[in-house]
Amino acid sequence: MGAQLRLLRRRISSVKSTAKITRAQELIASSRIVKAQMRMQAALPYEREITRAVTGVVSNAASVDHPLTVAKENPAKAGVLIVTSDSGFCGGFNANVLREAEALRGLLEGRGLSVVPFVTGRKGVTWHSFRQREMGGQWVGFSRNPAYADAKEIANTLIDSFKDDNGIDEIHIVSTEFVSMLTQNVVVRRILPLEVEETEATESTTIPPYFEFEPTAGDVLETLLPRYVESRIFTALLQSAASEEAARRRAMKSATDNANELMRMLTQQMNQARQAEITQEISEIVGGANALADAAAGKE
């Protein structure tokens, strides 16, 4: 009995220290979400304006042919940018992204395309190198705090490969979209060639104004499109960073809750064991005393 008591005590103290760690992780993640959300907000105006400008150019100058807007006739390779996190402890965050990426891979291969993954985040890179999948590019070290320069570097690699005749012919992006603290969705988007979205005109949408271009529509597009791709990638990185922290907070919260529940159960078991031990000791003492008393009575 005494051994069991000691065992339970040891387990309780180990669970307690785990709970402390997960609780701390939870608090850190909560404070980081706010920061990540603020960065997301700060990037919104630029993204909105650049999207508006691209819409303006494309809807004004439909005749403009640019390598980035025209779908290639016989696409052979598709690039997929997969945005994952650098560190773990965030529940199903990376698994969800990678599962969605695998589904997209199947879809693209069904269309007869070979898939080249471009991966950001240490978790995704490890996942791919473990399966010995060749990657078109890999970037690590900024999943929690992406800078614009990171997005630019990724965009340059993708665009260079896109412009190359033997390179990729389509670019898709798989990342996590931050909807709210509780909801994050994995989204798959094609960023190149540009998709002309036929949105239904609501009352709030005004017809894009008829732009004049300085110097020409083609030149504007030439400089505008890479910026647009960068901005889309940057937004994806920021959203993913916020989602990662939200996922981590949730995972750590449930880990803390589980640890507390386990601690409660173990404490109960320990008390039971202690009580049983005491009861046994008392009955042994009483039994011993009785035996002594009986023996003494027999002598007289």
């Binding site: 303006g56 271009f213 300085e214 110097p215 030149d219 505008l224 910026r227």
Partner: protein, 112 residues
């Protein structure tokens, strides 16, 4: 009134201007003339200016307000860039660097 420098030359935008989308030059100075207030001056490196619905938006890769420019650092950067241009005439990076430094100094109201 907004004055910016596109690759075609300087452009001044008054209220009710027709919609324009222009490419800005590397190392330009953007000026916003405001009524009753001092001009807002900024060094803008590359990017776009778009005018629509009486709204001007400037999308720049890098921008700095004139009042926030560190004059000593900019002058230092200009000197360094010029030194490397003198050493190597085809140093494109240094040429851009010099342009940027000049724009920052001009935005801060310094003579270059």
């Amino acid at each position: 009134m907004v004055i910016a420098k596109t690759v075609d030359g300087e452009i001044g935008i008054m209220p009710q201007h027709a919609p324009v989308l222009g490419v800005l030059v590397e190392g330009g100075v953007l000026k916003v003339k405001r009524e009753g207030q001092d001009d807002l001056v900024a060094a803008v490196h590359g990017g776009f200016i778009s005018v629509a619905d009486d709204e001007v938006s400037v999308l720049a890769e890098v921008a700095e307000l004139g009042s926030e420019v560190d004059v000593a650092a900019a002058r230092d950067a200009l000197d360094r860039a010029q030194a490397s241009i003198e050493a190597n005439q085809e140093d494109a990076d240094a040429a851009i660097e010099a342009k940027r430094a000049r724009a920052r100094l001009r935005a801060a109201g310094e003579e270059v």
